[in-house]
């Protein structure tokens, strides 16, 4: 017997059937309700032709439906393909086709995309509307499907069976599908809960998008522990504060920009946020200024940082609460991304692949039951990333003699903006398609709001003209908005090395010179 993602639901139905499982807006469902709806969704998916291991997509904001979708697809024996809601239609269609997703759920926000996506995607044959209104023409209605379905038996997939294909930005300009198994997701959850356990009294708030591993992780953990889950559709400070106050939420995951927007909100003092006891944040370090303001607004909250990637099944390091206190700050611990949780091996290796001594900079590699099976349909990229079981992150870091990881740079030339990974090459590819652009380089520059912001340095074709705003509009037709340059500077030439490579560190230098926490 191997670990099963659906096991938790069987257990909660046996032990806690009448307790609240999920809360979204004015809807609450018990574990028994959730189990019933999950079994019905699985029955409906079977009727729509879903076979073992086949992918089902979801394009939507956070909701209780998202949790039903996760469990229902696993219950039916399928695998998830949760779609990034910030992508363009072209990107979404690409990812659906890439792993042959035949069935897609869309929520109210994306209902109007249904028809267009079915046209653009070869694989997609069925689109299901998940919402309270009428289904647009050509789309099936989720509630009607559930009502008419015969509840299915749990397919009981487990262990190395595929649990989902999770798309992440690719260096080549196309997103890559990260294949994660039941074991991958559960190993991440179990390891994390060892050190950051949920208790009987925890109420978990799902704010970060569930289509991201970071957002999905805390939901999987809540399922394992049987905690009630309060879900808000997307981050909006007042909605989040209201949800915390109303449902006495105790635990959540936020990216640092969300923490900042929450604690700096003029109405922060008007809500009772006293139930919140722990906040896990990820994707980028938190600034000491934000932390100090957070301590005032959220005096009871202990902060933890997590670091990881989709390829590791989610965050796998933990920067403990004590590192956020005055002693930890003085010791510079806030610059660390934390220590590896149980279940994952983390090393820093040199160019020859051998581990380097502690304190020495090299590439972060990880190994363990949480590490992905590979990239969907990309054997070459899988071979490059996974060598002897070691996932090569592309991030450059050192580990100190207590196992704390300090990230120094990113091999892959990636920008982390508001918790999203943006590959410079992808943005550069888009910019260069504009007829006025001769060459360009995209870098991350410091941003109070986003951690890093996407910045373009552009050389124009002779006698051509284009404005910063025009370039941004042009990029948006090709790539997601969050990937498009926030600022653009025009130059006559780019600094080039002897080998002909653009020297990005020269471009970055003036922006990061004053930053105490340079990651460029």
């Amino acid at each position: 017997m191997q670990f099963e993602l659906t096991h938790a639901l069987h257990r909660l139905e046996q032990q806690n059937s009448g307790a609240t499982a999920v809360i979204f807006r004015d809807r609450q469902r018990t574990w028994a309700d959730l189990a019933e709806r999950v079994a019905r969704l699985a029955g409906a998916l079977h009727r729509l032709g879903l076979k073992a291991g086949e992918r089902v997509g979801m394009l939507g904001l956070n909701s209780d439906y998202y949790i039903e979708y996760m469990l229902g697809v696993w219950w039916a024996g399928g695998a998830l393909n949760p779609v990034n809601t910030r992508w363009s239609q072209a990107e979404v269609a690409f990812s659906l086709d890439d792993c042959g997703t035949g069935i897609l759920l869309v929520d109210e926000r994306f209902a109007s995309w249904g028809d267009a996506l079915r046209e653009q995607s070869k694989a997609l044959h069925t689109v299901i509307y998940v919402g309270d209104g009428e289904a647009p023409k050509g789309l099936l209605h989720y509630e009607a499907l559930l009502r008419d379905a015969v509840p299915a038996e749990d397919a009981r997939r487990s262990g190395d069976d595929l649990a989902g294909v999770f798309y992440t930005g690719g260096t080549t300009g196309f997103p890559k599908g990260v294949m994660l198994s039941h074991l991958n997701l559960l190993s991440n959850a179990l390891g994390y809960l060892l050190e950051l356990p949920y208790s009987d009294d925890d109420v978990v708030l799902g704010v970060a998008p569930i289509f991201h591993q970071a957002g999905m992780c805390i939901i999987v953990r809540a399922l394992l522990r049987g905690c009630p889950m309060v879900v808000v559709d997307e981050f909006e400070p007042v909605a989040v504060m209201r949800a915390i106050e109303e449902h006495r939420a105790t635990f959540t995951l936020l990216v640092p920009t969300m923490v900042q927007r929450l604690v700096d909100h003029p109405e922060a003092g008007r809500y009772d946020l006293g139930s919140l006891s722990r906040v896990l944040y990820g994707a980028s370090p938190i600034s000491e200024g934000v932390l100090e303001r957070a301590f005032k607004v959220l005096p009871k909250v202990r902060f933890y940082q997590g670091y990881g990637m989709t390829e590791t099944g989610g965050p796998y390091t933990i920067l403990p609460a004590w590192c956020h206190g005055s002693e930890g700050q003085k010791a510079g611990m806030l610059r660390s991304a934390g220590r590896a949780m149980w279940g994952i091996e983390v090393r820093v290796v040199g160019e020859n692949g051998d581990p380097v001594p502690s304190g020495t900079v090299g590439e972060i590699v990880t190994r363990g039951p949480g590490v992905m099976q590979g990239y969907w349909g990309r054997e070459d990229e899988t071979r490059t990333a996974l060598r002897d079981g070691w996932m090569h992150s592309g991030d450059v870091a050192y580990i100190d003699d207590r196992g704390f990881l300090f990230i120094v740079d990113r091999l892959k030339d990636m920008i982390v903006s508001g918790g999203e990974n943006v590959y410079s090459s992808e943005v550069e590819n888009a910019l260069c398609q504009h007829p006025a652009v001769q060459s360009c380089a995209v870098i991350g520059i410091p941003s109070e709001k986003w951690g890093e912001a996407v910045h373009a340095v552009v050389v124009l074709q002779p006698a051509q003209e284009v404005t910063e705003a025009e370039l941004r509009v042009f990029c948006k037709t090709l790539i997601a908005g969050y990937k498009c340059p926030v600022s653009t500077e025009f130059r006559d030439s780019l600094p080039v090395s002897g080998a002909g490579k653009i020297m990005k560190h020269v471009l970055r230098e003036p922006y990061w010179a004053d930053s105490s926490r340079s990651i460029a």
Copy 2:
């Protein structure tokens, strides 16, 4: 990649190398020391010829060596065979031969058995003396082996690889070897820690014998979480209280008789036991009287009950602390064995194998990644016990509508005395070998001290005489002392059913009539 039992040690060496790992008497070792000694032990075992998957035995009381043995054997790629220290030499030799254990570690207490066991056992070729004194003639010295060894690389066995063969009483009169994998042991630990987590501040006290799954479990959990482990060689109230006081132990596992002997000890008030915050007890329910006295002596302690078997990789239910409070007691929750932890499915089934409704009595069956691979070399008994992945426990119980398990009776006619399983048939077999005994029946009767005590009802051969004491001495030559009858009653005949079966419930009735918590 699958879960590895040795992974924890790599992680602790990276993150916490200088911290205390294990304390035994006046010895303390750090994680770095432990890792070094484990690698050396593995090297020594390789030099002694150990191959992947081969068994290494340990016959000894609890000590820091026991933890080195566990990790060293896994590091070397071998499997454990931890020997019950209460067994007779014949039983030990049987279990060593049964699974072909070639190398055995013996501590000071059992050093004198070394030669005899090597003679009695065909498989055993090497006996290693683990202790502070001189090695008896013919035995290798553990410290000398470690000193001369080349530290080995971790064999990195994992997942379904065999981690150990754990002998448990058999209905046929011979112990059976329960095969547990790396996944089995880790799944039990991870599931349990979800609900009963260890924190950064926990100090885990190993009192229950590590050769038992219950005792080993809390050690494996401490390794996963990196908690310091304080080990006492065996239960003795003053030694345990001293260890708690001196090392500020916070968590331990005791059987109810140990709790009783601790809290009723005349010197209990003389020790500072204030560090102890949680006690997990198992094997039998705790009496309300003991609990009330425990609340006085250990006012800060929260009690939890666990129930399980070697075949499930250890305890898999948890009776939460609140069930031990006055409300829980009033609601009769102390009679429950608790609820299933995450990771194991528990059902009560009828004679046809189908689940029965909640509240209905049937046999407990379990399934999940913690359930054993089978009995070593006993395919028939494995097939009987494991059907479609479901472990048939032989225990009769019902589950209430909140998933609480209430044990009603034992199908296998087993007595649980002081935390040890005693199969009546095994004791009856021994008794019947005495020339004066015509027939007999062995039952469990209530005991303040042991929970249940082994009681024999004997019919003598015509014109033969034997005393209770003589029978006890005779039994001790054949089976372990704890299995021998504590009391014996002589009768002219035994009550027999129409089908010719001895009606044990008639024998048990007068003893259990006054007990509010009959398990007979």
